[in-house]
């Protein structure tokens, strides 16, 4: 069962990496332009300490920024659903805020907060925030209106309906938002580092690029990607723990 699920991905990856390796060997392309997977893998191993130190920095930025952005996003989502007035007042600003390019905001953040962890965390939080708000609002609104009516006949107050009905039924949506947010947060952290940093994988990638150390640059990208994938799947694991019924229903629906 597990093998059947993992096997297609494994075979496909092997084909891609194998093809890449074959191409670099056959074409004799310079490693400065396109290093082979083997060289990249060796670089990861050779520079494990360097990558690990910088990965920890980036990971911190991601996790703190993600936590802040997601918490703020979910809280605002609840508020917007609760109050029509709040939604009408705030929602246009919310959408507009996403039209302001982070590229323009990040340098200002560095001016404000210097070469500290703060600008990176803020950038990550900003990119995480939006998908979580939107999905939370959608989820809270998608609750079955009949369910709400039924709970009202059971004597439930509005706050209680929010807590006992709307929020649990919105959790699958919220987790969709969290997954998107997690994928974006990795990009956000790297971007935050590009604007001004002295450590972290994004900073390292920039430095390696300037030195034309292409092999090591690819290695840094690989490490970053693996970290991002791991984080993404971590959200999926948490999702299954928090809302097991959702997974059960989905599985049931496929039979």
């Amino acid at each position: 069962m597990a093998a059947r699920r993992v096997l297609p991905a494994a075979v496909f990856s092997l084909l891609v990496v194998g093809g890449w390796q074959l191409y670099t060997v056959v074409s004799g392309i310079s490693p400065l332009l396109l290093p082979s997977p083997w060289e990249v893998a060796r670089s990861v191993v050779d520079n494990a300490g360097l990558f690990a130190d910088n990965a920890v920095v980036t990971l911190q930025e991601i996790l703190i920024g993600f936590a802040l952005g997601a918490a703020a996003g979910a809280a605002l989502g609840v508020l917007l659903t609760y109050s029509l007035l709040a939604e009408r007042a705030v929602y246009p600003w919310l959408v507009a805020s996403q039209m302001v390019p982070i590229v323009a905001v990040a340098p200002i953040l560095v001016v404000w907060f210097g070469f500290t962890i703060v600008p990176k965390v803020v950038v990550v939080a900003l990119v995480c925030f939006f998908p979580v708000v939107v999905n939370t609002v959608d989820g809270l609104k998608a609750v079955d209106p009949e369910m709400v009516r039924l709970m009202r006949t059971l004597g439930m107050s509005r706050p209680r309906v929010m807590r006992s009905v709307r929020i649990p039924s919105a959790l699958p949506y919220i987790f969709s938002g969290l997954k998107v947010a997690m994928a974006l947060s990795v990009i956000g952290a790297v971007f935050g580092e590009w604007v001004g940093a002295s450590e972290g994988l994004g900073y390292l990638m920039l430095a390696l690029n300037n030195q034309l150390a292409t092999v090591d640059l690819f290695a840094a990208v690989l490490v970053l990607s693996l970290m991002g994938i791991a984080l993404f799947f971590l959200v999926g694991v948490v999702e299954r723990l928090v809302i097991p019924w959702h997974h059960e229903t989905r599985r049931g629906g496929r039979e």
């Binding site: 079955d144 009949e146 709970m151 009202r152 006949t153 019924w245 229903t249």
Partner: protein, 258 residues
């Protein structure tokens, strides 16, 4: 404990659709009443009013002998919709205790009370399952137990078995009549299944097409306890014919013999 809804009218927004026109219903304490009518006779409107979810535009409501406003019925009348609407994140047991929980009963106590009824409701062994793991019939029974446990004076059933296949539905009707004969709750059932209306009820109200009004109040003359094979007996068929005639679906028995 008694509801007497006298002449309830209701108009929907804008269009001024007359859903119900002067509807008189009466449900005595411990009585099982069915309401049957063609689609669009305002049954849902009637139920929403009786559940306290909507205000009637005219007419009066009485509960327990005293006049009440629609809103005051909220929380006093138990309501079971067509779909089970069980919370997928709660176990069956915790779904059934919702009403008690809202009423402030401690969880342990609420669970204890619920568990006493699990056998009666055919849910034994499924206490810790999630709704997604149960069949449609079981989910409806769980939904009914949730409504029952809420301990309301009147229970409204809105086509509770409408989504089930006909065999399961027959089984559920048989089961419901057994449970009701034992517990004697005051129940109002809304349905467009003539057999169901007749088989379960002490009295059947037939509503006219919109605007809905009562065209027949039939005191059901069938012995209790009832068993499902009752539906093929002569008295059942005779009363069913009467109902069908008032629904415009058959010639009245008196005029049939020419």
């Amino acid at each position: 404990m008694r509801t007497a809804g006298l002449a309830k009218r209701f108009e929907t927004r804008g269009e001024g659709v007359q859903a119900l026109a002067g509807l008189d219903l009466e449900v005595a304490d411990g009585e099982f009443v069915s309401v049957i009518g063609p689609s669009g006779c305002g049954k849902s409107t009637l139920f929403n009013i009786l559940a306290g979810l909507e205000e009637p535009s005219a007419g009066s409501l009485q509960l327990d002998g005293s006049a009440v406003h629609g809103r005051q019925l909220l929380g006093r009348v138990g309501y079971m919709p067509q779909r089970d609407l069980l919370m997928p994140w709660r176990t069956i047991l915790d779904n059934t205790i919702l009403g008690l929980e809202v009423a402030g009963v401690r969880r342990a106590e609420a669970r204890r009370r619920a568990l006493e009824l699990f056998a009666d409701f055919g849910l034994e062994g499924f206490e810790q399952r999630r709704p997604g793991e149960l069949s449609g019939g079981m989910r409806q029974r769980a939904a009914l137990l949730r409504t029952y446990l809420a301990g309301r004076e009147v229970i409204l059933l809105d086509e509770p078995f409408g989504a089930l296949d006909s065999l399961t539905r027959a089984g559920m009707q048989q089961w419901l009549t057994g449970v009701w004969e034992e517990h004697r709750k005051t129940i109002v059932l809304i349905t467009h299944d003539v057999d169901e209306a007749l088989f379960l009820a002490d009295r059947v109200y037939v509503l006219s097409p919109r605007p809905g009004r009562v065209v027949l109040a039939l005191e059901v003359d069938l012995p209790r306890p009832r068993h499902y094979d009752l539906i093929t007996t002569e008295p059942f068929v005779r009363q069913k014919q009467l109902l069908l005639a008032h629904l415009g679906l058959a010639v009245a028995p008196g005029e049939a013999g020419s």
